[in-house]
């Protein structure tokens, strides 16, 4: 099995401390662990390469603490992890849209965070161009965490439990937004989901034997869905209108909100299908609750509009059996190693 995250436990802690002392290396007084990032075999190069943000165990752990820290919200009620739950591949199970501070709600579904390092843009409209610039958006959004970034920096600076972690991660106790974002990028950028049954099948490993139905589903996905949901990441990260009728009153213009181009009206970023069985509900506004209904949308529910994508316009021909086979295959994309890895879990208090 190849996992992108490798944990190396070194027994020579004492020696490391002495050597590390003058090199300003990171020091962990417990076990010496190393978090690493590896591009899985056969995958494209990631968009985020940790360039200028050297991945270390201490940077990762700091990022993880920030990700799960409710003090990053105005009333200290929610953290990033509130709407990005590990068991849901860091989506928000059962919520069409998520609850921010004071139970405020937005208009978009909380997406999963698997394989963020390969994403070329962030959010459903792709408004954010870099992984390190992603967290400031939900942190400052009035219907999400609603805290000015300057206040986040102040809170983290004042918090006694962070001081040592910044020294370990960055060499000194300076707290600024750049360090916060870089640490969070170390945590999110290493969230790699590459150990599903489909991956084992692709690598010819034990546990990767597909049933007849799953095989048929894979072939159907390759034939009907691969224009947008391209292997191995199951997205081409483009923006497309998949034929969902705009909701009156919400009128979320999607990508056009960023580009101001009528040709981008109602286009949204193509989501990856990885871990899709655990990230319900579906679509940019969470309007569809089950995978069966998602597939049915592409068969009979595609609304015509000037920007509806040619790949889905008029619907995709599928039999009832095809639908079942596709759903059966989609379930092989769940990476139970990733969604249960202690490395990404909220640390015990």
């Amino acid at each position: 099995m190849r996992k992108a995250i490798a944990i190396c436990i070194c027994a020579l802690v004492m020696a490391s401390v002495w050597i590390a002392g003058c090199k300003k290396e990171t020091i962990d007084p417990g076990t010496w662990q190393l978090v690493s990032f590896t591009v899985p075999k056969g995958w494209p190069q990631p968009a985020y390469t940790f360039d200028g943000n050297k991945l270390t165990y201490d940077g990762f752990v700091l990022g993880r603490k920030l990700f799960y820290d409710v003090r990053l919200s105005r009333d200290s009620s929610i953290s990033c992890g509130s709407c990005h739950q590990q068991f849901a591949s860091f989506a928000n199970l059962g919520h069409d849209v998520s609850h921010g501070v004071a139970n405020k709600v937005g208009i978009r579904n909380s997406p999963g965070l698997a394989n963020m390092a390969w994403h070329t843009s962030f959010f459903w409209d792709g408004g954010v161009n870099h992984l390190e610039n992603q967290p400031i958006n939900p942190i400052q959004n009035p219907v999400e965490m609603d805290l000015p970034m300057a206040d986040v920096v102040t809170r983290v600076k004042m918090a006694a439990d962070y001081k040592e972690m910044f020294i370990r991660a960055f060499g000194d106790e300076l707290v600024n937004s750049q360090r916060i974002f870089k640490a969070m990028a170390q945590f999110m950028g290493t969230m790699v989901s590459d150990d599903s049954k489909y991956d084992k099948y692709s690598r010819g490993e034990a546990g990767g034997t597909f049933t007849e139905q799953e095989l048929r589903g894979l072939e159907l996905v390759r034939r009907n869905c691969a224009t947008c949901h391209k292997e191995p990441l199951f997205s081409d990260f483009s923006f497309r209108n998949n034929g969902l009728s705009p909701v009156i009153g919400v009128n979320d213009s999607g990508r056009a909100h960023i580009t101001h181009d009528a040709a981008d009206l109602y286009k949204f970023k193509v989501p990856s299908l990885r871990d899709v069985a655990v990230t319900a509900p579906y679509m940019h506004d969470g309007r569809i609750k089950t995978l069966e209904d998602v597939v049915e949308h592409y068969r009979t529910g595609v609304a015509a509009s000037p920007t509806t994508d040619a790949a889905v316009a008029g619907g995709i021909n599928m039999t009832d059996q095809d639908k079942k086979d596709i759903v059966s295959f989609l379930k092989t994309l769940t990476d139970s190693t990733f969604i249960s890895s202690k490395l990404f879990a909220e640390p015990a208090k």
């Binding site: 590390a20 002392g21 003058c22 007084p29 161009n129 870099h130 992984l131 101001h260």
Partner: protein, 250 residues
């Protein structure tokens, strides 16, 4: 705990041990101080209290005026000096800091300065930044990544917005709607950088020029810009003309 203590000792013992390095060429460089002055026509800009009239004839007041100056270069007889990490946020509300010093300018005679109003596209796509580019400076669009190159806020009786506010945030770094503007300003007198002392360059920014040419701003119709696009581009084409050098010398 013991290990942590040992570690911090080890770290502490390494700090600041390097002896001061002698200047490799003590006769070679001098200081040039760039000082910025926000004006309305020929008068000094005063926030909040003073009313002004734009090209269109609309009365207005200014409550906030800040902008980035980046990628500063001095063009000399022997060569061009390029400031490193050249990003400066100039804020009328923080007048004492509306200047910066370039301290390693090679001895030469300089006749013009090249600079950018705004932030180059590279830094708009390079992830988390710090210093003048820290997003806590409130010059960064979070929902559509990118720096706000220039911000002017205030009020005008002509503005139909609630409270008669005017609010112009110019951003967008790519393609036809890019709002960073690079210009070369000639110095009224050439400056000679040598061991005679530090030179000063006074740059005036005229607020009236923001609303004058090529696009005349009518505050009853155009009173807010808050995203990249044609309006922001129009404002950028105007502010490309807002700077001039009023003084250069010791």
């Amino acid at each position: 705990m013991i290990l942590a203590a040992m570690a911090s000792l080890a770290l502490a013992s390494c700090e600041k041990k390097d002896p001061p390095q002698p200047d490799p060429d003590p006769t070679g460089t001098g200081k040039v101080v760039m000082e910025f002055f926000n004006k309305v026509g020929t008068a000094d800009l005063v926030l909040n209290d003073k009313a002004y009239v734009n090209e269109h004839g609309d009365t207005f007041k200014v409550s906030l005026f800040k902008y980035y100056i980046s990628n500063v270069k001095l063009n000399g007889a022997k060569g061009t000096y390029t400031e490193t990490e050249s990003y400066h946020l100039l804020d009328q509300a923080d007048k004492p800091n509306m200047n910066f010093t370039m301290s390693n300018v090679p001895y030469d005679t300089y006749t013009s300065v090249t600079l950018t109003i705004g932030v180059d596209s590279t830094r708009n796509v390079s992830g988390a930044q710090t210093g003048a580019l820290d997003p806590v400076k409130d010059m960064f669009w979070t929902w559509s990544t990118g720096y706000i190159m220039l911000k002017l806020e205030g009020s005008s009786p002509k503005s139909p917005a609630t409270g008669g506010t005017i609010s112009f945030h110019a951003g967008g770094y790519a393609g036809q709607y890019a709002t960073q503007r690079t210009m070369t300003l000639s110095l009224p007198t050439a400056i000679t950088v040598n061991d005679n002392g530090e030179n000063h360059v006074h740059v005036d920014a005229d607020v009236l020029r923001l609303f004058k040419a090529p696009t005349v701003f009518d505050f009853s119709a155009l009173y807010a810009i808050n995203s990249a696009g044609q309006k922001a581009k129009d404002l950028a084409d105007n502010y490309a003309n807002m700077l001039s050098v009023s003084y250069a010398g010791l």
